[in-house]
């Protein structure tokens, strides 16, 4: 799947987006890949001078991201990245606003801002670096850590259930929801492009390996031997097929997804579920998002769903224009000298 890229007026290269700061993530961290794919992709999706790009972050390893991008950047406080980004976008709708955030930052302390950003369809792009652990504070469990996961604060295993981030975004009405994996550079680039071209809240979850505190969390999804059987790549208009030899498919029977064997002759690709990114109903996207909660189902990556509706800043601007049309451009004297005024001579 190739996305259409706009005519490039600006001949930026990946280098143009690298700041002069030394990158200080741990060697081997998945964050490096995300940074590299962003810098590689940006020349293809940026259709305005790069001074109009703003990266905003909260707190955590991922939130150092803005320091490494040679754009305007704002390293905020824990959990508040989406709120800060919202302020930037509403204040100046001409800016392209991106958020780099982590599972603790976005889904724990920042959960409230996240759902309301989605609800309001604020036109910002959120990249969630999900490593299922608190890295910067050195290894406590996060809201995406698995039940039973042993961490520094869950020495006997976590008793909590994890969030499924795309489902949370869907419930909060985000208009673009996708997932990718740090090690799948090509796919990640494609997802960054598609998120960047979306108008509205774009939520991209990236499975990111923390090789210090949660190493191997996504091995099944990235190892050569296992990944084909454990990952299904969603492609618009195409059947849900996975497996090393593309020999397995998924059908939708009622509300139930069913894995079928394509080698027995009972089913062909024509019997499979055809993915529709632009499905107006959230129901099917929700079922896809739940695949990995079912035994033997692969983990979906790709775009779950994308819809279009008025964005937050569009609504604000539209209303300002409507009121101006109705009441006329604001006249300060008229407002100050209104109500029951009287003169003392």
């Amino acid at each position: 799947m190739e996305s259409k890229t706009e005519v490039k007026e600006f001949n930026y290269t990946a280098k143009d987006f690298a700041s002069d700061q030394d990158v200080r993530w741990c060697p081997g961290c998945g964050d490096y890949s995300i940074l590299a794919q962003v810098q590689r992709t940006f020349p293809e999706i940026i259709n305005k001078p790069k001074e109009n790009i703003v990266w905003v972050s909260g707190i955590g390893c991922s939130s150092r991201f803005p320091y490494y991008m040679n754009t305007y950047g704002f390293h905020g406080i824990h959990g508040r990245a989406t709120a800060i980004a919202t302020g930037v976008k509403v204040a100046n709708p001409n800016l392209d606003v991106w958020v780099a955030t982590g599972d603790g930052d976005l889904l724990s302390i920042g959960g409230n801002h996240f759902i309301h950003t989605c609800r309001k369809n604020v036109d910002i792009k959120i990249i969630l670096f999900n490593n299922r652990i608190y890295g910067l504070t050195k290894g406590q469990y996060s809201p995406t850590s698995l039940k039973g996961q042993v961490t520094k604060t869950t020495p006997y295993g976590s008793v909590d259930y994890p969030f499924n981030p795309p489902k949370l975004a869907l419930g909060a009405e985000a208009t673009f929801i996708a997932r990718s994996i740090d090690r799948n550079a090509k796919h990640l680039q494609e997802m960054i492009k598609r998120a960047g071209l979306h108008k509205g809240t774009a939520f991209l979850e990236v499975f990111q390996n923390c090789n210090i505190f949660n190493d191997g969390a996504f091995d099944l999804l990235t190892d050569k031997e296992t990944k084909d059987d454990h990952v299904i790549e969603l492609k618009h208009g195409e059947p849900l097929v996975f497996g090393k030899n593309k020999d397995k498919g998924i059908r939708l029977e009622g509300f139930n997804p069913v894995i079928v064997d394509l080698t027995t002759g009972h089913y062909s690709v024509n019997d499979l579920w055809i993915h529709d990114e632009f499905d107006p109903s959230p129901a099917r996207a929700s079922i896809i998002m739940s695949f990995d909660e079912r035994a033997d189902f692969p983990t979906p990556i790709g775009i779950f769903r994308q819809i279009f509706k008025e964005t937050c800043d569009e609504g604000i601007t539209r209303q300002i224009n409507e009121v101006k049309k109705k009441k006329g451009e604001g006249d300060l004297k008229q407002v100050l000298y209104s109500g029951n005024i009287w003169e003392v001579k």
Partner: protein, 617 residues
Amino acid sequence: MENGKDKELLELKEVTIRFAGDSGDGMQLTGSQFSDNTAWVGNDLNTLPDYPAEIRAPAGTIYGVSGFQLHFSSDDIHTPGDQPDVLVAMNPAALKKNLSELKSGGMIIVNSDSFDAKNLSLANYSSNPLEDGSLKGFQVFQVPITSMTSRALEGIKLTPKEVARTKNFFALGLMYWLFNRPLDTTINWIHQKFAKKPEYVQANERALKAGYDFGDNTEIFTSRFAVSPANLPAGVYRNISGNEATALGFLTASIKSGLPLFLGSYPITPASEILQYLSEYKNFGVKTFQAEDEIAGITTAIGASFAGNLAITNTSGPGLSLKSEALGLAIMTELPLVVIDVQRGGPSTGLPTKTEQADLLQAAFGRNGEAPLCVLAARTPSHCFDMALESARIALKFMTPVILLTDGYIANGSEPWKLPKMDELPEIPVKFVTDSEGYYPYNRNENLVRPWAIPGTPNLEHRIGGLEKSNIYGNVSYDPENHDQMIRIRKQKIQNIQNDIPDLEIEGDLDAEVLVAGWGGTYGAIKEAVTKARAKGYKIAQVHFNYICPFPKNTGDVLKRYKKVLIPEINLGQLAYMIRSEFLIDVIQYNLVRGLPLRVSGILDKILEVAGGNNGK
């Protein structure tokens, strides 16, 4: 409408009225209508809305009583009056709750229809006070307001509930008659407010006129009163509340600075009205953003400030607590931002609808780390306009967050406001950096202020954030010497605001022995108390702080000039604490934290006690 022909018209200098009734009786509306009318006829006035936090507490109960006090005069006045001369009580609970505050010999106008067994019992009256002689010593006027109103509204298609709801206009009409007022301001208001509901216009107008005619035509009242216009300085006036003045101040600051106004806000009593007012001004390009919580209120504002808007957020004490961490971020990133804290009774949820001055130390110091910022305070409702402009000016000029303290009393209270002439409004010059030559995010000018380069400006891409940055260059820095230097620079930058603000102004007797110092909404009460003490022959000086962080330059000199410094506050001594520690002088405190404005009489007694016998005479 003819004036009551055969009724005597008595001239009074000043009157304090309190309207009291159920939360659903429309007492706030009645009070604010009477206030607008009072302003319009040219009296000086000052008001105190006083209502419970419950929107509609069970009808007839004492805790459901809502009150509105206003003080008006032909003279210059500064407070809502200590004790009312007239009490309008719409039910027994309202009478019970307010009677003890009424001046002895004062006038009570009751809705006699409401004094039935049920309401008497709800108000915990064992016998009817209208009949048992317990109101001896007051002038009691029993008016069957409910039944008179429904009679007046006969023929209008309204439900009995809707009819009952107009009885406050009957009461208002009667008070207009009693104080010899025109009905125009309220009739105009009714027509505007209910333009789409002609039956409401008819009903409210008829109730209002019926109340007026009742005074005229019955024998109950033998005289009416008039208060001459006050001798206010020449100019054009309107009646204004503190919250509206605050909103208008920031609207004006936006125009004068040429920056779009962004308000990130979460509703909280008693500050929500600022959001409500500003959301009306969309045709000025004002962006009001009702956020998901207090933290998003301030952090969206910080984002908007980074993007180059005039960014503000409004709240009350609990919200200021929630905004603390983000305030630190604004201090660290050195971005302009104004936080308006309309103080209410605390701690915690405290007394949401009552006034207090107990957020001063939180505003000045309530953050992690060395986190200095600028703190200003407004002293009266109309002064909120000036301080809003001033807080925006300082925030923009010094690239710093500013906390503007107002309080529930001046926010909801109102007074006549002499409107500024348009050409007298201060300019607020703002210059974004556009030249990349020599640009560094933490380069500084002579005031130690860093440059403001906003996204969208070519070649000035830079990164800021909550981590400590190297001076000048703005890269993340863990260098010990740099941190120490940056801490001192941030402190000195706030101190430099001193050179940009007016000196403390001494009112009263320069050569007094006693200085009364205050801040915020106690100005009026202190001023009246000082005036009264001086009228008794005492020499008393007064200063009132508009600027608290930093203090005006001459503060130390002024304080040290007086033998005794008395500081009245609606807290346990927060300004006193700051003055003691900063200027190493002792002060005498006067503190009452009742959720209500200080009374003139209380401050006056304290002044006389401090001045002592003939001391200072």
